[in-house]
């Protein structure tokens, strides 16, 4: 077992981000779609939380609301116990010092016109390091890059598209290392990288949590991955949380029928994969 991995109980720690009756409705009349339907959640400091659901379950909509990129139709999001206020640009920028994200597609996460240096410098500036000397800034960037096993001297003056997908995703983590937010929202960060680089990225997330004690919210469709990384798992179906709890309880003794189906449909290695559970004629699947 990895020494990076801690098995502490975070569920009694101070609240970091919570939501009460958070709802998002798209469209009107016949087109009305409830993407997220009155969800309640409590994420604690230092907790590794996973939100698992299939496509169309509303997990990305929820993550956009958590990031403040989308306003909830109804309900309230509390940041560190107080109602979140992001009504002005300045307040929003302040909020983003506390919450940052890594997205699924590393190729779409960067501005193609900006060099890697400026990507990292932006992070230092957001943390209030505008007046530092050039040497100090380079030192900070070098440290961040070496944290993710990249060499800053090889990256400087390069553009993001000159890197491979795995390297880009690691650079994204280097950004997080510089920013040290309270909460990291990771939306499918490993679905576009290979299995062998996936383990490296997960290790870095664990290491980040160990160093800074940040809360990590992991959004994924891969229940095996969620089981491996998280302390707490939330299972989402049609915009609602159908089951939540400690990872071991939810995955090994699932209660909700949806969770049971999700787990039985994942191909396994030590257990038999039963193909008879799916009905080919069911048209909506």
């Amino acid at each position: 077992m990895s020494e990076i991995r801690e098995r502490k109980d975070y569920s009694n720690g101070p609240l970091c981000l919570s939501g009460r009756g958070v709802t998002k409705v798209f469209g009107l009349g016949d087109n009305r779609t409830v993407a997220v339907d009155h969800v309640d959640f409590d994420f604690h400091e230092g907790e590794f939380v996973s939100i698992v659901g299939e496509s169309g379950s509303g997990k990305t909509t929820l993550s956009k609301m958590l990031l403040g990129l989308m306003t909830p139709t109804e309900g309230e999001i509390l940041f560190e116990g107080k109602p979140r206020d992001i009504s002005t640009g300045k307040k929003r920028k302040e909020y983003w010092k506390g919450i940052q994200a890594i997205f699924q597609d590393p190729f779409a996460s960067y501005n193609v016109f900006h060099k890697i240096d400026s990507v990292l410098l932006d992070c230092i500036h957001l943390r209030g390091g505008k007046n530092l000397s050039k040497k100090q800034k380079v030192e900070m960037m070098t440290e961040a890059c070496s944290f993710v096993n990249l060499k800053f001297s090889e990256l400087t003056n390069k553009y993001p598209f000159e890197l491979s997908g795995g390297q880009m995703q690691r650079l994204m983590i280097a950004r997080i290392f510089l920013l040290k937010p309270r909460i990291l929202l990771a939306d499918e960060p490993t679905s576009m990288v290979d299995a062998c680089s996936r383990a490296t990225i997960l290790d870095m997330l664990f290491e980040l949590r160990r160093e800074t004690g940040m809360t990590i919210i992991f959004i994924t469709h891969d229940i095996g991955l969620a089981y491996y990384v998280s302390d707490t798992v939330y299972i989402m179906e049609h915009g609602r949380f159908v089951e939540s709890g400690k990872a071991d309880d939810v995955i090994l003794t699932p209660q909700a029928p949806y969770t049971k189906r999700l787990i039985s449909d994942v191909p396994k290695i030590h257990e038999v994969w039963d193909l008879s559970t799916v009905d080919l004629l069911k048209e909506d699947a």
Partner: protein, 335 residues
């Protein structure tokens, strides 16, 4: 031993970039699939899995070029044939291919039945509409697809349904070999299971005689195919039955790959998935020695200078490493 449906001997193909550089994406691949069997190909992105699939069809167009080697389908050599001949006589009847984004390949302005007509008429221009419809309806019913799908447009179908429709349409002429390139990786787990179930049915009912299944997801491969081979930098590094490959991988790269699986099973949380640092070599200038040497933790100076040949062992297994099976098993024990 069954009849050999697909045999490939030392196949080499390359891409030519716009700067006229050669990239050797498939470099000396040999394989055999018997009737009623399926073979899985695993490996990380850029290792040549999809190029292998394209090369096997014998249908080459720039930037992909054929260099050497033989492709035999049911004893008939198709390598080096004219692309037009290949399209008319081989594709669809002898070999069918499902690309990675197959479900995006459906023309949104046409009904599904039109695609079936296209496929059938490419080989039999005089086929009548009514016959084609009867044939399609019978096949769809056998595979558990609702026959109403035939009169729908692609946009009316869900992702999983589209993928299954594409598979049903492309195998309508009962090809001898089906090449499926990541047919289910863009789907949810439940739709993925349905796609796999349908492919199993195709095999069981004899509509396809053999299958080559490409994916990067190993737990899936273990559940779908009889044999698995692992590719690295354009070469096969290990080949064996699915069970042997998952529980007893020999070559250091496939050992690492098998250790990187994550499945929701009891006890999995306490094992650490293996990470393989580094990146694959540039195939414009493949390394002189073992291609995995740069990333291999057991590599010695000899590995970097001497290339390694395929070494057979056990019952029909093969691996590519300088170390012997016993030595490798010994070093894995200490981890």
């Amino acid at each position: 031993m069954g009849k050999v449906m697909l045999e490939v001997r030392d196949l080499k193909t390359k891409y030519v970039t716009r700067f006229h550089e050669d990239v050797y994406a498939v470099d000396g691949v040999s394989l055999k699939i018997e009737e009623g069997k399926s073979l899985g190909v695993a490996g990380e992105s850029g290792c040549g899995k999809s190029t292998l699939a394209l090369s096997l069809m014998g249908y080459y167009f720039p930037p992909l070029h054929y260099i050497s080697g033989d492709i035999l389908i049911d004893g008939k050599n198709i390598s080096g044939l004219d692309p037009d001949v290949v399209r008319k006589t081989i594709l669809g009847t002898e070999i069918a291919y499902i690309p990675q984004a197959a479900m995006n390949a459906l023309n949104p302005t046409q009904k599904i039945i039109r695609f079936v007509e296209d496929v059938v008429r490419a080989h039999d221009p005089k086929a009548r509409k009514k016959e084609i419809r009867e044939r399609a309806e019978a096949r769809f019913a056998e595979l558990g697809l609702p026959r109403t799908v035939l009169d729908k447009h692609a946009v009316e179908l869900s992702g999983g349904m589209k993928q299954r429709t594409v598979i049903a349409v492309s195998t309508i002429l009962s090809p001898k070999v089906l090449i499926a390139d990541e047919p289910s990786s863009a789907l949810d787990v439940t739709s993925q299971k349905m796609v796999i179930k349908m492919m199993r049915e195709l095999m069981d009912k004899g509509y396809i005689k053999s299958m080559l299944f490409i994916t990067h997801e190993l737990p899936l491969l273990y559940n779908v195919t009889d044999d698995i081979m692992v590719m690295y930098a354009g070469q096969i590094v290990e080949k064996g039955t699915a069970r042997e490959m998952v529980f007893d991988p020999i070559q250091p790269y496939s050992h690492g790959l098998m250790g990187a699986n994550l499945v929701p099973e009891d006890g999995m949380r306490d094992t650490k998935p293996t990470a393989i640092p580094g990146t694959p070599p540039n195939l414009k200038r493949p390394p002189k020695g073992c291609r995995f040497a740069e990333r291999c933790r057991y590599a010695t100076e000899e590995c970097r200078t001497h290339s390694v040949a395929e070494r057979p062992f056990g019952e029909g297994r093969m691996y590519r490493c300088r170390m012997s099976v016993e030595e490798l098993r010994e070093v894995y024990k200490d981890e």
